[in-house]
């Protein structure tokens, strides 16, 4: 029940947004979401955007995972 899925905001109209998830457009309320811009990703849960996804942090996590692999190759 605590599932939330990342989707890209394609339109904002007041506290409503259109969010694209894997090619499907969904309407979502922004009433609970910190400020967000078109083009950013949000986590969608039960019809609400509950957070803006930090894409830089996502890249940073992936870089770290790659690094763990590189250390493994050397040792």
């Amino acid at each position: 029940m605590c599932l939330a899925i990342p989707g890209r905001v394609i339109e904002i109209d007041g506290d409503q947004a259109e969010v694209e998830i894997g090619g499907i457009i969904r309407r979502a309320s922004l009433a609970l979401c910190p400020p967000v811009r078109v083009g950013q990703y949000v986590l969608l849960h039960a019809g609400f955007a509950i957070q803006v996804v930090d894409e830089e942090e996502a890249q940073e996590t992936l870089r770290l995972l790659q690094e763990i692999g590189d250390i493994g190759e050397i040792s």
Partner: protein, 381 residues
């Protein structure tokens, strides 16, 4: 799908598992509190990939499963009231209460509707002004802000026939209850990612400070979970106990202040009854008096018979992490997803349902860790 598929890369997963084999020295028990993590672990076969000294226990983080029979019976009594439409999330429909379930009640003529969002329930209320629409509010901190937002919206739009029956629960007090129980020997927590999107990392601080156990807030893709397990194993091997965030793309230390404010505006903390854990002080959310016009408890005069437990069902023990589904004699025989005896088999996030769907035929290779082998990754089922 962007921000999802990158975190399913089998090559990086293999790196993480190798790193785990290099780091893991002693037997440890880690609990994944959240049901969505339980499903991801089972579905991706992670339990069979990690070194065998690391055991993963499922916790009480499935809101459907921890709803007590008393609270289920209450929702059924509400649905039976004349002039009431009961709206709820789909997961609640087939959960057996003491004597019935919402889907049985619907078959017998009660007006019970499944909604995807509280906003749908508000629309039903607007379209049926002569009926009371009662939303059965079940869920943790991820979901309760959406219910709070619906009450604020009902107030704003002057919708007076929308009511909420709140059985919302809070995760950190349940973790404390587990830690205070002598039955469980835990070494660390994989903390729920989407609850933490809302509450942030600070509410878990007491676990590292008072109980000296490490916590890692984890995302839900296989790489997220594997990295979280590695972070916990590293913390345990070096004797550190702190709260770390693995799911940095979604979780900030302070959580989501907009959602927290909304939650606090509408709800106050109260005691709550949990299946398996009993009454936990200050572990639930009650609607504040200011919003009592939308509180179903204020309006419905309910006569609910004393609750009854399904004989033989071990859900309570499973939710406390002291038993697993294979310990239950009913698992897979008398109890299946088609004909469930307890909620852990009904809910899509229930531990028994996850084991039934994905782990029934998998065998844990106890020698694997000692041989130092890294198993091959199987594609997600």
């Amino acid at each position: 799908m962007k921000l999802v598929s990158e975190f399913r890369d089998p090559q990086l997963a293999a790196h993480l598992i190798k790193a785990m084999y290099r780091t893991s020295r002693r037997a440890v028990s880690l609990m994944e509190v959240c049901g969505t993590h339980t499903v991801a672990i089972s579905k991706n076969g992670l339990r069979q990939m990690i070194p065998s000294p690391i055991s993963l226990l499922s916790g009480p983080g499935c809101p459907v499963c921890v709803t007590s029979n008393r609270d289920l019976d209450k929702a059924i009594a509400v649905a039976r009231q004349p002039g009431v439409i009961l709206a709820t999330f789909g997961d609640m429909m087939r959960v057996p209460g003491s004597y019935s379930s919402l889907s049985k009640e619907r078959a017998e003529g009660c007006d019970v509707r499944v909604v995807y969002s509280t906003m749908d329930a508000l629309r039903i209320a607007e379209a049926n002004p002569h009926q009371k629409v009662v939303f059965y509010g079940v869920g943790f901190e991820t979901t309760s802000p959406t219910i709070a937002a619906s009450i604020l919206e009902a107030k704003k739009r002057g919708i007076t026939n929308y009511l909420v029956l709140s059985v919302h629960k809070l995760i950190p007090p349940a973790m404390k209850a587990l830690l205070d129980s002598p039955e469980l020997n835990l070494h660390g927590f994989i903390c729920p990612g989407h609850v933490s999107v809302i509450i942030g990392s600070r509410p878990y601080q007491f676990i590292s400070e008072q109980y000296h156990l490490p916590c890692v807030i984890s995302g839900f893709e296989p790489l997220d979970i594997l990295q979280s397990i590695l972070m916990l194993v590293q913390a345990l091997e070096t004797g550190q106990a702190a709260v770390h965030i693995q799911y940095r793309r979604g979780v900030r230390e302070e959580g989501n202040p907009v959602a927290l404010r909304t939650l606090d505006q509408v709800f106050e903390v109260g005691d709550a009854e949990w299946r398996g854990l009993g009454l936990i002080p200050e572990s639930g959310l009650k609607i504040r008096r200011k919003y009592r016009s939308w509180d179903a408890e204020e309006f419905l005069d309910l006569d609910v018979p004393a609750p009854r437990k399904a004989p033989g069902c071990l859900c309570g023990d499973i939710l406390r992490g002291i038993k697993n589904p294979f310990d239950c004699p009913l698992f897979g025989g008398k109890c299946t997803p088609e004909s469930p005896v307890g909620p852990c088999m009904v809910s899509s996030e229930g531990t028994c349902a996850a084991y039934y769907r994905y782990e029934r035929y998998r065998v844990q290779d106890e020698d694997r860790g000692r041989r130092g082998e890294v198993p091959q990754l199987k594609p997600a089922g």
